[in-house]
Symmetry: C2
Subunit: 767 residues, 2 copies
């Protein structure tokens, strides 16, 4: 226990040093103002509790030869995770200039929260972490994601009591209903009750202890209460790991969790300037704020640091003593060097069936229809079958609704709670994870990917906004990781957004929002990819591509309702490879400069564009129309902005520089302008898209409400191509009348004039 205490004191010493010191790391001389950083930035409050956990978990790892990683929920406690990695030696292995000696310690201190140094939070830069923790709430979901399909792994998840107030964390406790005793590892939640957030007490620290215990029991755990005491913590961890072993062997049904009460800022200054600090919210950031200016504060800091007795902990060269080093696990059993926490080291490529096998046969374009996601479901079924331990499909209770149900031919939905005889496709070990929480789907998948596995998240398009913030944080993690040489690439996080804005037939306005794409494109071009395959074959090819990619966030938007088949598989691959292209069979420009360009992205807008082109072909045959479909949205950006960006010359040739471009877009029109505003022809670009008009109505009515329908597109063309004359004016009037007729028909009869999937062209209704 002495060595554990020494490890803990050393970690605390190193944490304080990181927050405060520029120099004099071993206090070889009395502290002077110039040893202190000019700007004191960091979070002390949670740090000693984290260090306490690390010290004790290491003991268990060694005693039981346990494979273990940690998730540090209170990620603002960056100094703790960094100190831990340094004491374990892995920090110096990753960053040789931060050696495990006095000079390395000086650099370790100096770099923390310092310009050109490392962030104040646990971050991708921190060896041993897969969790940033700046935005609180996701630790427990990440922990479960990491534990899935790692049967021998324990994921120790330290949860701050502030974080525990967030919605995502509150939902995550129930993740234990989705765990398979044999296939999955074990998550050990350690709820760290230090009592305070930034400026307030925490709810869980101030409810009656009986309520807290019932809450944890209600979540399905066996809670253990621990105070700030080494013996207690060691005994409790032993009991918990014994229970975990009993659970694994089938002798127990419940898994443990630990409630650890420590004073916030434990071992720090008790009182500063007459106010209590240790054990209060005042310890949250930097307990002594004026160390450089105030000699009394400087003296308190020195006293505080010396209270850890550094001379007992480090030799004169700054190296941790043998007792401390003796508590450190070996090699990859060090949590800071565990390959699960640098998942790319463990990543193996998916075994992907040849997607050509699932192709729809297309004899001629736009003459038959398929449900794209249903076709994709067959591919995903075989992906799951071929990768029974490394691929999971996440979705908030929408996998069947999104028509991916073929996957249930090969697997179940994961479920370990009660089963009834009427249940279908439900069972322990299922590869499909369905819970009515987008936060959990996202958090689980992030944890799963960051530990070196693969997956896909299918979701209603509108509700993916629920995880905007989580997407942001994951994208930022990837952005940072790409710059860190020892972080190996991980599988991309791929979203399949279905049940999209244009086909919310059962639901309506609240389910209509294509704006996730706008959130996505704000992140760095090195990380984000957006695809809008217009039919089943392009969806297959795009999905295969995304599942092979690394370190990206891919967004695929594809419908579940029948749409026209446009491409043979060979054509689909070629079209996707180009990212956009002319549909020659729908165009009438025949190799010369067109009079107008009809561009489209997204399945429903594409069908309406094709219908509009057909109407023009029939009624204004002399007008030369070029139809362009865009699959890879990033092609629209300049080459300088995105690696997929199309060179200007190529763009100009395709879209012209001076002809009207009517762009029919799946999402909010402004996104197309945002991507293409630098293009030469931008002044002639006119975009149609979703403009927040909608309700529970028919698909074609929905298109008309937002002016993306075929008739309106023809009107747009006539309005923008100069010199078309009276025949065009007459056609424009007919189109306007056709809209009114269609509207009236639908309002009278409650259905569209024709089924959307048979919107062949010319449409009978428009003549």
């Amino acid at each position: 226990m002495d060595h554990i205490d020494a490890y803990w004191r050393a970690a605390n010493y190193l944490s304080v040093g990181q927050i405060y010191l520029l120099d004099n790391p071993l206090l070889a001389e009395p502290l002077r103002p110039e040893h202190i950083k000019p700007r004191l930035l960091g979070h002390w409050g949670t740090t000693p509790g984290l260090n306490f956990c690390f010290a004790h978990l290491n003991r268990v790892i060694k005693d039981r030869d346990q494979d273990m990683i940690y998730i540090c929920g209170p990620g603002h406690g960056g100094p703790a995770a960094v100190a831990h990695a340094w004491l374990e030696g892995s920090y110096s292995e990753r960053y040789p200039d931060i050696s495990q000696d006095v000079e390395g310690m000086r650099r370790l201190f100096r770099q923390f929260s310092f310009p050109g140094g490392v962030p104040s939070h646990v971050a991708p830069e921190t060896p041993g972490s897969i969790h940033e923790g700046g935005e609180l709430g996701y630790s427990l979901a990440h922990a479960y994601g990491a534990a899935f399909d790692n049967p021998d792994l324990v994921v120790a998840c330290i949860i701050g009591d502030g974080e525990a107030e967030t919605g995502p964390l509150a939902a995550s406790w129930h993740s234990n209903k989705f765990v398979d005793r044999r296939r999955d590892g074990i998550v050990l939640p350690i709820l760290h009750l230090n009592g305070y957030k930034i400026a307030n007490p925490t709810v869980l620290a101030r409810i009656p202890e009986q309520d807290l215990l019932k809450l944890m029991e209600g979540y399905g755990y066996r809670p253990h209460l621990v105070g700030p005491d080494h013996q207690e913590m060691a005994g409790t961890l032993d009991a918990a790991f014994d229970q975990m072993a009993a659970y694994k062997s089938g002798d127990d049904d419940r898994l443990p969790m630990i409630v650890l009460r420590t004073p916030k800022g434990w071992t720090g200054p008790r009182e500063v300037d007459g106010k209590p600090v240790e054990g209060t919210w005042r310890a949250h950031q930097v307990p002594l704020a004026k160390v450089r200016e105030n000699p009394a504060h400087l003296a308190m800091l020195e006293e505080w640091m010396r209270s850890y007795r550094p001379e007992e902990l480090f030799d004169s060269g700054g190296r941790p003593n043998q007792g401390i080093l003796g508590t450190v696990p070996r090699g990859t059993h060090r949590m800071s060097a565990n390959p699960h926490a640098n998942g790319g080291e463990l990543l193996e490529p998916l075994r992907l069936p040849d997607f050509h096998r699932y192709a729809i046969e297309v004899k001629s374009p736009a003459t038959q229809s398929s449900e794209p996601t249903r076709v994709l479901g067959e591919f995903l079924r075989d992906v799951i079958a071929a990768n029974p331990r490394t691929f999971r499909l996440m979705g908030p209770d929408e996998t069947a609704s999104n028509r991916l149900q073929a996957v249930f031919e090969t697997t179940d939905r994961a479920w370990n709670a009660e089963l009834l005889p009427t249940d279908e496709n439900l069972g322990s070990g299922g590869r499909v994870m369905e819970v009515l929480s987008e936060h959990l789907c996202q958090g689980w998948l992030e944890g799963y990917l960051l530990t070196g596995r693969h997956g896909l998240f299918n979701c209603y398009e509108a509700f993916i906004h629920i995880v905007d913030a989580m997407f942001n944080q994951h994208a930022k993690w990837l952005e940072s990781s790409q710059k860190i040489s020892w972080r190996r690439p991980v599988a991309s996080l791929t979203y399949l957004l279905s049940s999209h804005v244009w086909r919310q037939d059962h639901n309506g306005f609240s389910h209509q929002d294509p704006g996730f794409l706008d959130v996505v494109v704000n992140k760095k071009a090195s990380v984000v990819r957006v695809y809008l395959p217009p039919d089943a074959n392009t969806l297959l090819s795009v999905s295969d591509h995304c599942l092979r990619s690394r370190d990206y966030v891919n967004v695929i938007v594809a419908g579940k309702q029948p749409v026209l088949d446009l491409f043979t598989m060979e054509e689909a691959v070629a079209h996707n490879t180009r990212g956009l292209g002319i549909l020659p069979w729908a165009s009438t420009d025949e190799g010369v400069e067109p009079d107008v360009v009809l561009a489209c992205a997204g399945d429903v807008p594409t069908m309406e564009t094709l219908a509009a082109a057909a109407l023009i072909r029939e009624h204004l045959p002399e007008l030369k129309v070029r139809v362009i479909n865009v699959v890879d949205l990033m092609r629209l950006q300049p080459q300088s902005e995105h690696p997929h960006g199309m060179p200007d010359a190529e763009f100009d040739t395709l879209f012209t520089t001076d002809k009207p471009i009517i762009f029919n877009f799946h999402g909010y029109p402004s996104l197309i302008h945002q991507l293409a505003y630098r293009r030469h022809g931008h002044g002639h670009l006119h975009v149609r898209g979703y403009k927040e008009e909608g309700t529970t109505t028919t698909p074609f009515d929905m298109a008309m409400l937002n002016d993306i329908d075929r008739y309106h597109l023809v009107m747009d063309v006539i309005d923008r191509v100069p010199g078309l004359g009276s025949k065009a004016a007459h056609l424009r009037q007919r189109m306007s009348d056709a809209r009114l007729r269609a509207r009236a028909y639908t309002r009278e009869l409650g259905e569209d004039p024709v089924e959307i999937s048979s919107w062949t062209w010319p449409a009978a209704f428009s003549s």
Copy 2:
């Protein structure tokens, strides 16, 4: 009880009718295919349980003369809420064409989920609702928001067991720690366990009952289990309301909640095509899907509808019988006509102190500095004091961090859990609501505003993305409400985003995201407003304006760190009223067309722009520079797109049509292009802003990392103004050198060359 059962049967009958029937509402003749809607859209599964709740709650309202509203968490059960309002007569009061007779019933059925009719979900169109429920998770937070400061109100909150899996709902249970027994009303949660989501069982329905009870006790409630039985439900409600009375009078410490188990699709078809439906997930939407085509299904529908014995429920004219009408509360005690559910009816304007009183005295611009949010805090303190029952300030534990701490001079943070002697500004009845959950802050505030009160949500800028989806739904609610004549305007939802991207000194990359603005501007122009006041006085004036507004979402972005004071209060009001304007004292164009326009929006970008203008004035005095600050971002849009949009002529005069515009923006640069791409001068517009570069570093280093710093702006000017010659080239080199020097200085010493708040111009460091 017979009347309650009759009410329930009638509501069920009306619900099935809405989903299926075009005509023959009373089944006066045998059902024929042409009586059936061609597209069957709606959700039956949850509906009978909702009807059961309405029937029984009405009994309590009448028995106890109770003021009560409901929140319908499973908002897809739209037919229930509509049936309830129709039976109560309020539907016909709001929509006279939907009369309470057979013709009205016919129309009621036909309009549901029908083109030109009403949405399938509970919606703004539904009398008695303040909650859409299409996106699940927010019912309980809305309920608490509605209950705050309504001491005599009971809010019955029906929570679906699917919804209960979401994060926001899981967090919301703890709202009871923030309730004041005397000042606030009571929320009665009714957890509706019908066992299934779309295609899966629900977690809470399949855990051991003991776990469920412990969970609810752990959340601090007294749970009551009820099965699908009238007597049980009535007895339980009586017990619950007795407990609520005891709580109110101080005789009990705990409030009740109810767990209601019913079969999903209760009273609907038991089995369809050989598969069980009632009591399974198959009852979720439309249990009989092929009624028009399949005579057997048609017969089953008729049998199902007749099982409610409509002839006992309605007279031949379609009017509900006296027994049913006798169960309906009177007037505004009908939940469907309660004014709390149309909050604008109860709304009283805030008593606002004169914001001029809080003005910073500014003798000359940009020569002193203030912390804008700290100044605003004094105004908010007095707003709270003047409106002790109608205004609340929400924040996720960041009110003091955002420097609004003056509010604690007049009030506490709301808290009814344990208190310790060391606690400060914490207590029952506090007007500041702090919980570490943006979801709860948002949900509480929405509930509070929609019931006719006022508030403000202060939040770290990056983490407001956590509620992107909730913002979307609230904006959609407002968009729809504006078109519904009987929905009276409510107070706007105003966000104050502080601790913004440019001043994350303690935190770093994970805390840097200005993209919420991009999400906001996708919503309808009739609803959204965005303001970036650059100093304390403009912040005061903008805030006063926002607190007076109605039916909007206002976003204010303002820093908490010291920034230069630019405007006297008189100037600030004028500047805000224009929304943007030239800063003549910073410009050198003196009434003629400038050579270059330096535009800016946001406090830090504005300070850097001013410094750049000063550098140019000093080193290139012959260059005519116009400095424009933008407060109201919507002014940049064309007049046709937003009511605040500036006419083109005015825009052209200000920004020129052919001179370079260097726009230094607070957020992602693309947003400015998105707003201004239609402007004549857009081809000359060059925007700087956040480009996802950042870490824990100094403020000026952060500006340099993203090229929004003064030096880079001068370089941008030199690069874009033609014909400046060798002197400019020399200056450009000096600027580039200055950047390198500043970078090196900061990396060496850990601080900026000068304090950001004293970045007066010319900066000493650049010469």
